[in-house]
């Protein structure tokens, strides 16, 4: 896929991946491991059975600092329909930047680390997100500090807790969406108990100079296997988690995307800090009237996967297009094809029978509840 003009960024730990036999592919401007010799299926299953280690250093890490924690929180609230002010110290929450038409610019994690907020944003949107933050926040007294010297690792799976606690027992005190400092293999790590797989686990930021030591310490644990982007995608799909640019984008409102749980009451109509974010008119209207379409889980009934772009119809022949698949593939843990997409509101109830057009043929698919696999967060 080298067209000669594309210069890919390299991960700080790139050589470690190559040494481990990674197949590297371009992703969001980076050369990234898509799989290791074990392959996507085995990596996926290992994560759900034991512990997977993912290098997600391509993602953006940003620190927001102001005179007071409150000032930083209030400033960020002008960009996200999230209760940031009410986010306690040592806690993290999921959110999204919205645009004026009520669409989603990116989704992100927001952590309150006491004297600053720590954001993790998607690699593909990193430049735009940083530009957004740099334009909007300094006038409100917030300093935007883009972190470029830290590696981000995700450790995910039922044994992730034990693996990380073996390096620092304080990990045992962390619950889902807690953030805190851990010392891992001598490195000062910023950790959150969160992830993108539906399993228990941690996301860990360490300085690039100490990253190899942490990486090696984790790899030395026999419960841990390296996991590439291929399995990262199948894991998050089974968990019903959105991938920006596919399941959510500038044309999807959080209500259509069924992400209203991330808009806390205080930011909704009637709340103390209702609105005050871009797209409030459209989002409030969707909350009030219901959105015209909804993101749903989809379960193809035959063996053929239904992938992004497959059109969904209300009849086996003729009929009307009522939706589209936005993410789809095979679920190694459930053993069958899995997908997510948008359907017109009238067709969004669980068990609604639809037809997806695959290679010119209409195959049966059913609307299904998400997630496909149980979420196993450490609450």
């Amino acid at each position: 896929m080298d067209d000669g003009t594309q210069t890919l960024a390299t991960l700080p730990l790139a050589q470690a991946h190559v040494d481990a036999g990674a197949r590297m592919v371009p992703f969001a401007g980076y050369s990234m491991p898509v799989q290791y010799p074990t392959g996507v299926m085995a990596e996926h299953q290992h994560t759900r059975a034991h512990c997977g280690l993912f290098d997600v250093s391509h993602m953006g890490q940003v620190i927001l600092r102001a005179e007071t924690a409150e000032a930083a929180a209030r400033a960020l609230e002008t960009l996200v329909p999230v209760d940031v002010l009410g986010l306690g110290e040592g806690r993290q929450r999921y959110g999204f930047f919205t645009n004026d038409s009520g669409g989603i610019l990116d989704d992100l994690m927001i952590a309150n680390r006491g004297d600053h907020l720590f954001l993790v944003v998607n690699a593909a949107c990193k430049a735009d997100d940083i530009a957004l933050l740099r334009a909007a926040l300094p006038p409100l007294g917030v300093e935007v500090d883009v972190i470029e010297d830290r590696v981000l690792l995700a450790v995910q799976g039922p044994e992730a807790g034990a693996v990380v606690a073996a390096l620092d027992p304080r990990a045992d005190d962390m619950r889902f969406m807690d953030v805190g400092g851990l010392t891992l293999a001598g490195a000062e790590a910023w950790a959150s108990r969160s992830g993108y797989t539906g399993e228990d686990g941690f996301e860990i930021s360490v300085h690039v100079s100490q990253a190899r030591a942490v990486f090696d310490a984790l790899c030395a644990d026999e419960r841990v296997a390296l996991i590439g982007l291929g399995a990262r995608d199948s894991l998050r799909l089974e968990a019903g988690l959105c991938l920006y640019g596919h399941d959510i984008d500038t044309a999807t409102s959080p209500v259509e995307a069924r992400l209203t749980w991330a808009i806390q009451k205080v930011r909704r109509p009637g709340g103390d800090r209702a609105g005050g974010f871009p797209g409030e008119a459209r989002i409030f209207k969707d909350l009030e009237d219901g959105a015209g379409r909804a993101r749903v889980g989809l379960r193809p009934e035959a063996r053929a996967p239904m992938r992004e772009g497959v059109l969904l119809f209300d009849a086996e022949q003729g009929g009307t297009q009522v939706g589209q698949v936005t993410s789809g593939g095979f679920g190694p843990s459930v053993g069958h094809p899995v997908a997510m997409g948008y359907v017109d509101a009238a067709f969004a109830d669980t068990d609604t029978a639809l037809w997806g057009e695959v290679r010119g043929k209409r195959l049966p698919v059913r609307v299904t509840a998400l997630p496909f696999t149980p979420l196993r967060f450490k609450r």
């Binding site: 392959g39 199948s234 095979f330």
Partner: protein, 119 residues
């Protein structure tokens, strides 16, 4: 065994040609999760897409190596696509076809030529 540039292998059995994909092909494809085979009795043309194979991430096609008629397909790999990854040159053959003249396989690569291609 003979090999095509598309990483298929061909084996002559009497007046029938057996077709599968090579070890190299499955390494490139990754774990297979879906296989769709042509109907028995179908007349196919050389280079026509006649098989769909899907890995976790992507779909691919397999082409008919020659003009001919599909006389048998391997249901075992439809039932269990992972068989292609574990035994691509044995139990995981894809289809058998009748061709006008089995010496047509001579145009394809032998083992040494194929090894040279994939190195």
């Amino acid at each position: 065994m003979k090999y095509t540039e598309e990483h298929e292998w061909l084996r002559v059995e009497g007046d029938i040609i057996v077709v599968g994909v090579t070890e190299y092909a499955v390494t490139q494809l990754g774990d297979l999760v879906f296989v769709e085979l042509p109907d028995v009795g179908r007349q196919v043309s050389r280079d026509e897409d006649i098989v769909v194979i899907e890995s976790v991430k992507a779909a691919s096609d397999i082409l008919a190596p020659l003009d001919g008629e599909i006389v048998e397909v391997n249901e075992a790999i439809v039932e269990d696509p992972a068989l292609v990854n574990s035994d691509p040159t044995g139990a995981a053959w894809f289809f058998k076809m009748k061709v006008p003249d089995t010496s047509a396989v001579d145009q394809f690569m032998d083992e040494d030529a194929y090894k040279a291609l994939i190195d």
